[in-house]
């Protein structure tokens, strides 16, 4: 198991997918959620995954993080093939090397912000790195909120706690599935700039799924997904270039290999 401390080196691939496929159902009702995806995510980079609804963004993320099992192909975190890991190894991977941020925040209601943040370290039986904790709390602006419970915090604050929780174990990569989906545009912008600061200032690697071209513009790179395949790649995106990329996906339809029709892009369309 790769336990080396993260050293941000430009060009190192933090996460890779090789011919990754995922199918649901069988026979008539078969759905190719992912149809052979090859993609690399560089370490120390903030990548956004965009695509129409149902294009397989969440599925890709779940497979990369070992939350779900692939039908075929491989997914690597660093040099570890997560598709070949058993539950124990996956649990260890989630503890040490992968962080999550969810659209629904998913904080534990009975714990305070601080307890929520430190939970992953405790579950792993480790001791909290107080210096790193301080840095995170300060960067995310949570110093005043540490003793509050989720019910006493706004959505944006809850999501920042969730981000701190995802980063506390200094993972190789943080996956965020529509982290701003439940936030208004101001809290959303706040959360996004915190994510970008985590990458720029704290040297983290973040892969984020979003529908919002404006959100995607905070990233260093946008990977476009359509019908379970990689359909484009934009470096240093702007809201306009991201939107243009999404629009271009529409002209690709209809795809012959699957019966699904790309839906209208969500926000920003």
């Amino acid at each position: 198991m790769d336990t080396t401390v993260y050293v941000p080196v430009d060009g190192t691939r933090a996460v890779r997918a090789r011919d990754l496929t995922k199918t649901y159902g069988s026979g008539e009702a078969v759905v190719h959620a992912l149809a052979g995806v090859d993609v690399d995510f560089a370490a120390g980079e903030f990548t956004a995954i965009m695509g129409p609804s149902g294009s397989g963004k969440s599925t890709l993320m779940h497979l990369l993080a070992g939350l779900d099992t692939a039908t075929s192909g491989q997914a690597f975190v660093g040099t570890t093939d997560v598709t070949g890991l058993n539950d124990g190894a996956l649990t260890k991977l989630r503890r040490d090397r992968v962080g999550f941020v969810f659209q629904q925040f998913n904080l534990l209601p009975m714990f305070t912000a601080e307890q929520n943040i430190t939970l992953p370290v405790e579950l792993a039986g480790g001791t909290v790195d107080r210096q790193w904790f301080g840095t995170l709390v300060e960067t995310l602006g949570l110093t005043e909120r540490l003793t509050h419970r989720p019910a006493e915090m706004s959505g944006g604050q809850q999501q920042r706690v969730a981000i701190a929780r995802a980063l506390i174990a200094q993972p190789d990569v943080v996956f965020a599935d529509e982290p701003t989906g439940n936030l208004d545009s101001r809290s959303g912008a706040e959360v996004l700039s915190f994510l970008r600061r985590s990458v720029r200032e704290l040297g983290r690697t973040i892969i984020m799924v979003t529908h919002d071209p404006a959100a995607a513009a905070y990233a260093d790179r946008v990977v476009l997904l359509a019908d379970g395949r990689i359909a484009g790649d934009i470096t240093d995106p702007t809201p306009e270039s991201a939107l243009a990329g999404l629009d271009a996906l529409r002209t690709l339809e209809p795809d012959v290999s699957t019966g699904t029709t790309p839906a209208v892009p969500g926000a920003g369309a």
Binding site: F100, Q104, F111, E122
Partner: protein, 877 residues
């Protein structure tokens, strides 16, 4: 449906407050029913555990009722057995019974008839005796309840047929002679009389397959002429029975026709009251008279435990519905948004409860019948000595009572949750799920009621203890039991206020052991109401069991102390029918396991005041070796006499005084010394006894046993060794064993009955855990995503289960100790100083069982928590 056009009418309160044109109650009940059933189907899994709780409770009731029926049936059968195949019994005053028998034999439709007469006989040959009931050989063999296994029925005077058991006891076989002794009253005025002996010959051996004469020790059959002579004439004012066998033509559907009943009634010659009954009617009447409501006592006793089980089941149900309503808050709010009235939601929850109650109760009745039938099926393998019916008799009560009770309990338990459902505001549908909660905290009324009941109840218990210790046991027990019940209700009602605090304390202890435990402790506390309701269900059973075991322990200890003070030694061989021979000491000493013996001599002596003493004396060293009560002998020395405090008071002396004891010779001065042991009062040394009476006789053997050996077995060994001496062998071991057995059997029965309530409560723990697991699916998935391992998740739920069960058990044990002690003080103070003991072993067993049950209760919920894939759970809204 055709009812959709029903005009608006007066509605249930609140149903129009939704601000939506509500349909009338008739129109609205159908959609409600459809919605309810759909909701139930969706929640089927969540309702299962609650259903099982009710199912077990109703099965308990059904089995009890069935057992009652079986007992009744068995009683009837035993009563009816002696009439064999007779169809009717004609009961007359018996003044002209011979004419009555003839008249009935002559009635149309009667195949055979005989008087039911018996004589009480003493049979034997001078060395062995046995009492038996003597009956006449009937006119028709179908009226004979006994079977002939060898020889023939008596046909001439002086011939008898005896039951096999009696033949063995009397050492007689076919052809052997024996004698009948009977008392013949010569002067009815004074009751004087003489014993008459007659020679009889055994011609047949019988068997009693239906135990018809089991209660009188077996029946000896003789010719009617002999029985006529041996039996007493009917007492004036009594009743006399004639059993009759009817022709098939006189029966319809197994019952005598009205015509034959009338004819029999008319045939009776004797004056006074008479009646014609079927044998079954007679059995019913006799058993009602004989048991005098004993069946009812049995039913009430067992049904009390069934009620406890149902109460616990009710708590589980209430908890389930409370959780269901909380989990459906969003759905309920949505329904309110689209126009459902409060009344509709209220009725919907109650309907759900009613359907659950009916289904579960039916299941319970079915289970009960199966269990009872299985028991009857296996029962014949154990020789119970009672004829049991082959199949249970399913009367309407057996089905209807459990069904009604189960349904009512379920619906009543759902009343509060149903009220909560009506309190859900339509606005709740718009709020995020995490912040939703159904009514937190508990009302002030509840707090006041609980406090009053608890304090009042315990005050009453205190009063009961006071009465008990001052000798008013009946009054004390009544007060203690009533106070105990009231305070327990108070405690149960109030658990929601303080039980979470105990849980928090235990949780804080547990959370030190790791992150999974910390999660578990936090989970247990996030919903105090749910936790206390679940733990309370267990608390009830544990409290009652602990009360019983504590009370039993106190009874045991108190009895031990009393026995130790009565018996100074392990075994005493005392004069019985014969004197204790001097050789007895050697015989007893020779028994394996007897360590020491003392030869005890005795003499009568007189005091100056004219009082008589029965002095016992033995060698001081032998006494020291045999008496087990360490300090009871401390004061005995040459020249002293041991007396208990009580005896000293009776004689008006004090320790240190000198008593002038006169035996056969001159007065011997003896110094009074105190002993605590009643059995050692009036004991002196052998030398002193000889001074009082040089001819003092050998009176008894006292023996000490090897402490490692089983005293009851050794007692039997000593009894065997002394069997042909006509002496009486006793000891505290025998008494203790007997007493112990009574206590253990009673405790076993009561704990067994209470165990049902505990099982239901454990199901309740599993239920709460699985409901929580369903509710926390997304949370569990998140935890898994951030690094909670499978075994940690399992561990978390296990700790939750053990915590809830542990809290219930710890509090139940504390309460049980309290009730057990107060109960023992009340009931046992008359026996002497009550020893209050903590039954550590039972306590440990109860605690371990409860905690392990909590652990087991977490297995199924943990499995379902692990089954859900993290992705699915995260996607679920």
């Amino acid at each position: 449906m055709a009812t959709t056009t029903t005009a608006p009418s007066t509605d249930a309160p609140g149903s129009s407050s939704g601000g939506v044109p509500a349909a009338g109650p008739k129109g609205s009940s159908l959609p409600t029913a459809r919605y309810t059933l759909a909701q139930m189907r969706r929640s089927a899994g969540r309702l299962t555990a609650a259903g099982i709780a009710i199912l077990i409770g109703t099965a308990f009731v059904a089995v009890t009722l069935l057992a009652g029926n079986v007992i009744t049936r068995a009683t009837y059968d035993t009563i009816a057995a002696r009439y064999a195949d007779a169809d009717v019994l004609v009961t007359t005053s018996g003044t002209d019974w011979r004419q009555d028998v003839e008249a009935i034999r002559g009635t149309d439709g009667v195949a055979a008839a005989d008087a039911v007469r018996s004589a009480y006989l003493n049979l034997g040959d001078g060395s062995v005796f046995a009492y038996a009931e003597g009956i006449a050989r009937p006119q028709d063999s179908r009226l004979m309840a006994l079977d002939l296994t060898a020889g023939k029925w008596p046909s001439e005077r002086g011939e008898i047929a005896v039951p096999d058991g009696l033949a063995e006891r009397l050492h007689v076989g076919i052809g052997d002679e024996t004698q009948v002794y009977r008392w013949v009253t010569t002067d009815p005025e004074t009751g004087d009389g003489e014993e008459v002996t007659e020679d009889v010959r055994v011609v047949g051996i019988t068997q009693d397959p239906y135990n018809a004469y089991a209660s009188s020790g077996g029946a000896v059959v003789a010719t009617p002429a002999d029985i006529d002579e041996w039996a007493d004439d009917p007492v004036p004012g009594g009743t006399f029975e004639i059993a009759a066998l009817l022709e098939p033509s006189a029966l319809s559907g197994g019952e005598p026709t009205p015509a034959v009943r009338d004819a029999l009634d008319a045939a009776v010659v004797s004056g006074g009251k008479h009646s014609v009954k079927t044998v079954d009617e007679h059995a019913q009447q006799v058993s009602a008279e004989r048991t005098g409501g004993e069946d009812l006592v049995f039913l009430v006793f067992v049904l009390t435990f069934a009620a406890v089980a149902l109460l616990v089941a009710g708590l589980v149900i209430a908890n389930t519905f409370q959780v269901l309503v909380a989990q459906r808050t969003r759905t309920l709010a949505l329904l309110r948004c689209v126009g459902a009235g409060r009344g509709q939601l209220y009725r919907s929850v109650l309907l759900e409860a009613a359907v659950l109650g009916v289904l579960a109760s039916l299941g319970g009745v079915l289970l009960g019948v199966l269990l009872a039938q299985t028991a009857l099926f296996v029962a014949p393998r154990f020789d119970l000595g009672v004829p049991l019916p082959a199949a249970v008799s399913i009367t309407p009560q057996v089905v209807l009572i459990p069904l009604a009770v189960g349904t009512v309990v379920t619906v009543v338990a759902a009343l509060a949750p149903a009220r909560n459902a009506t309190r859900v505001a339509p606005l709740a549908a718009l709020r995020p799920a995490e912040t939703l909660s159904v009514r937190r905290g508990a009302g002030r009324v509840r707090a006041v009621l609980s406090a009053l009941a608890t304090i009042g109840g315990f005050a009453l218990v205190g009063l009961g203890v006071y009465f008990g210790t001052t000798g008013e046991v009946q009054l004390g027990l009544a007060a203690t039991v009533l106070g105990g019940a009231v305070s327990l209700v108070g405690v149960i009602v109030g658990t929601v206020f303080w039980l979470p605090k105990v849980a928090a304390f235990l949780g804080a202890l547990v959370s030190r052991t790791g992150p999974a435990s910390r999660l578990a402790a936090a989970n247990t506390l996030r919903n105090p109401r749910r936790t206390s309701a679940t733990a309370t269900a267990l608390l009830i059973g544990v409290t009652l069991i602990m009360t019983m075991t504590t009370g039993a322990a106190a009874a045991r200890e108190t009895a031990d102390d009393t026995l130790d003070e009565t018996f100074p030694v392990d075994i005493m061989v005392m004069p019985g029918a014969g004197e204790v021979p001097p050789s007895a000491a050697g015989t007893v000493d020779g028994v394996d396991g007897v360590t020491d013996v003392a030869e005890v001599y005795a003499a009568d002596a007189e005091l100056p005041g004219g009082e008589y003493l029965y002095l016992q004396g033995a060698d001081l060293e032998d006494l020291r070796a045999t008496v087990h009560d360490e300090h009871a002998l401390d004061n005995l020395a040459p020249g002293t006499i041991l007396l208990t405090q009580d005896d000293m008071e009776n004689l008006g002396v004090a320790a240190g005084d000198t008593l002038e004891v006169t035996g056969t010779g001159s007065a011997v001065p003896l110094t009074v010394a105190e002993t605590s042991n009643m059995g050692l009062s009036d004991v002196v040394t052998l030398t002193d006894l000889r001074k009082v009476d040089p001819e003092a006789t050998f009176a008894a053997v006292w023996a000490a046993l090897d402490p490692a050996a089983d005293p009851a077995t050794l007692l039997a060994d000593v009894q065997d060794a002394m069997s042909d001496q006509g002496v009486f062998v006793t000891g505290p071991a025998a008494q203790r064993a007997q007493f112990e057995q009574v206590i253990n059997v009673m405790l076993g029965i009561v704990v067994g009955l209470l165990a049902v309530a505990v099982v239901i409560a454990v199901i309740g723990v599993a239920n709460t855990l699985s409901l929580s697991v369903i509710e926390r699916r997304r949370e569990s998935a998140t935890l898994r995503a951030i690094g909670l391992s499978k075994s940690q998740l399992r561990g978390m739920l296990a700790v939750e289960g053990m915590l809830i069960a542990g809290v219930g058990a710890v509090l139940g044990i504390a309460l049980g100790l309290l009730y057990g002690w107060t109960g023992a003080l009340t009931a046992l103070s008359v026996m002497g100083d009550v020893t209050l003991a903590v039954p550590w072993l039972d306590l440990g067993v109860v605690l371990v069982v409860a905690v392990v049950a909590g652990l087991i209760a977490s297995v199924a919920p943990a499995r379902s928590a692990l089954q859900a894939s993290p992705v699915e759970a995260l996607a679920a809204e």
